[in-house]
């Protein structure tokens, strides 16, 4: 960058005979901090008649002009008479704009209002109640649209449902398989340690089977789907909202709930039990391998024991959780997407919220299932 290097630096010289300040060189934004810190003298003359010359200025931009203006203001404060000479028209125009607007330059935008704890508490309560209302309204809307869609199969938007099944289900298969397999391995390892001390090795099939079928597989699937899908729904619908696509649908008299939310809910409803089953398969596989390696329980023994003591009933108890989890994840994801406002920040914030809320609701729902199962004594 020869050209930039060659640019002479900025300077301010004082000619004491003529009582004249001479501005030299480049009074540009890159030079200003140096000008301010070292070149502009801190001790100023008092009550003198001074001139400032701009004859030797090579470049004079608005930062330089503001810097010079501040200097002149300081001089005037010391009751000096200041006169500018040899500034060209353009430089003078710049200085006169600054003089004209000088009151505005000191303006500091008022910081955002601070409110008391009580105010924030009330505001948050209203926001949360509003969200609860919005969510309820959306659930109602979904139910209504679903009922009316029964007579018009076209309004179910089968291609969108298939796309959802593919994006949330098929593409999730590898990660669900891998994580479930690992969970199965870890689970049977931890339990195996205890069982081994009692010599009750064969019970590994019963214990790990129960845990995987009833709790671990539904939960691990739900956590993966909440992380992958709920965030994806929020980001998709959120960016459509920013792009005014949602408004476009409204103006055509179409319902975003019908076109965007319902296909996602139905798609996830279809795919969720399948994912849980997929997860059960691989978790059991992991448990089986680990039992063989660690406890020396053969594959055939493991599987026949699993069938006798755990059986299909426990598997179904796990699968019954699927619809609740699917609906929670899809609705939270879509609803948070609808809440996105027009800013890049907002997409991030709502996506975070959607994942956190989906996980929270999944755990709550799982607890509710446990309570119900224990009431029913199963």
């Amino acid at each position: 960058m020869a050209m930039i290097m060659d640019k002479p630096l900025a300077n301010l010289n004082y000619d004491s005979d003529e009582k004249r300040y001479i501005c030299e060189g480049n009074w540009a934004i890159q030079m200003v901090s140096e000008l301010q810190s070292s070149l502009i003298p801190s001790t100023l003359p008092r009550a003198t008649s001074l001139t400032i010359s701009g004859k030797d200025l090579l470049h004079f931009d608005s930062a330089g002009a503001l810097c010079l203006f501040n200097f002149i203001t300081d001089l005037r404060k010391n009751e000096n008479q200041v006169e500018l000479i040899d500034f060209n028209e353009q430089q003078q125009a710049l200085l006169s704009i600054i003089e004209e607007k000088q009151a505005d330059l000191k303006y500091i935008p008022s910081p955002p209002e601070k409110h008391s704890l009580l105010y924030n508490l009330g505001k948050e309560t209203i926001t949360k109640l509003g969200q609860a209302q919005g969510l309820t309204a959306m659930i109602g809307d979904i139910a209504y649209k679903l009922l009316s869609a029964i007579h018009h199969i076209k309004r179910l938007h089968v291609p969108s449902i298939i796309a959802t099944v593919y994006n949330t289900g098929v593409t999730a298969l590898p990660i669900v398989a891998l994580l479930s397999f690992l969970i199965g391995v870890v689970l049977s390892y931890q339990m195996g340690l205890q069982l081994e001390t009692y010599g009750a090795n064969i019970f590994i099939a019963y214990i790990s089977g129960m845990a995987i079928f009833r709790e671990f597989s539904p939960l691990i699937t739900a956590i993966i789907v909440a992380g992958r899908t709920s965030s994806a729904f929020t980001a998709q619908i959120g960016s459509m909202k920013i792009n005014e696509e949602i408004d476009a649908l409204y103006t055509m008299g179409l319902s975003p709930t019908e076109l965007l939310v319902i296909p996602r809910v139905i798609g996830l409803l279809i795919v969720f039990p399948l994912l849980i089953f997929w997860s059960v398969f691989f978790a059991t596989l992991g448990a089986m391998f680990m039992s063989k390696a660690m406890l020396d329980v053969g594959y055939f023994d493991f599987l026949s024991r699993l069938q006798d003591s755990v059986g299909i009933k426990q598997l179904l108890l796990g699968l019954y959780k699927a619809p609740a989890f699917a609906i929670l994840i899809a609705i939270v994801g879509c609803y948070q997407g609808m809440l996105v406002q027009a800013s890049a920040d907002s997409v991030g914030r709502q996506t975070t919220k959607s994942v956190v809320q989906a996980l929270f609701l999944i755990i709550v729902a799982d607890a509710v299932y446990s309570i119900i199962y224990s009431w029913l004594g199963i």
Binding site: S62, Q90, I97, D104, D345
Partner: protein
Amino acid sequence: MDKPIIEISGLKNFLGGQWVHSDVNLTVKKGEILAIIGGSGSGKTTLLRSILMLQEPSAGRIHVFGEDVLSIDEADANEIRKRWGMLFQHSALFSALTVAENIMFPMKELTTLDSQFMRELAMLKLALVGLSKETAGKLPSELSGGMQRRAAAARAIAMDPELLFLDEPTSGLDPLSAKKFDELILFLRDTLNLTVVVISHDIESLKRTTDRVAFVGKGKIISVEPIEDLMNNKNPLIQDYFSKA
């Protein structure tokens, strides 16, 4: 002093399976306002993006401030980037920052100015683009389209660039706002000694502001001349363009 600010020769761009530019030659002189016009899809924005180093051209040479921008290293490129400002078509203000913070942002990152001076400088830029001081504390989303455009212009001139790029600055503005924005451009050119490259479709605005207009068509610059001459150009593409307007 009289070296051209931008020199483009033999620029070619291959994009999306077709040649957007086949042979673009263009020179921008110091202190002028040059407009680039042409039909939709004629590659005006691609040309601008090539100059701005946002897109590597397929072939050709681009010199900005006398430096070959296609072969310089990143540090030198950043030195050049400090000397120009760009006003994007959709303003591209940072949505999480207030207007004043938006203007101060490049100063904060690229200079060592103290914050008091930076704030005053930001307020000066706001005054220069004709926005009231109350605008400073607002978020971009709270401003109208025209005000956003002005705020974006204030950010584009934050670093006192020597070269200013404008991508369709008056599109979407009402005629009065567009006229005021043109006056702003002329005013900035005269006070800050800018060279301006503008993409525009607004004939009225071109008549008001530009010194020369470059017409892009068929992957080339067909003609560069003052707007009155260009409107009388006998080239069928140019005739066609102005007959639509």
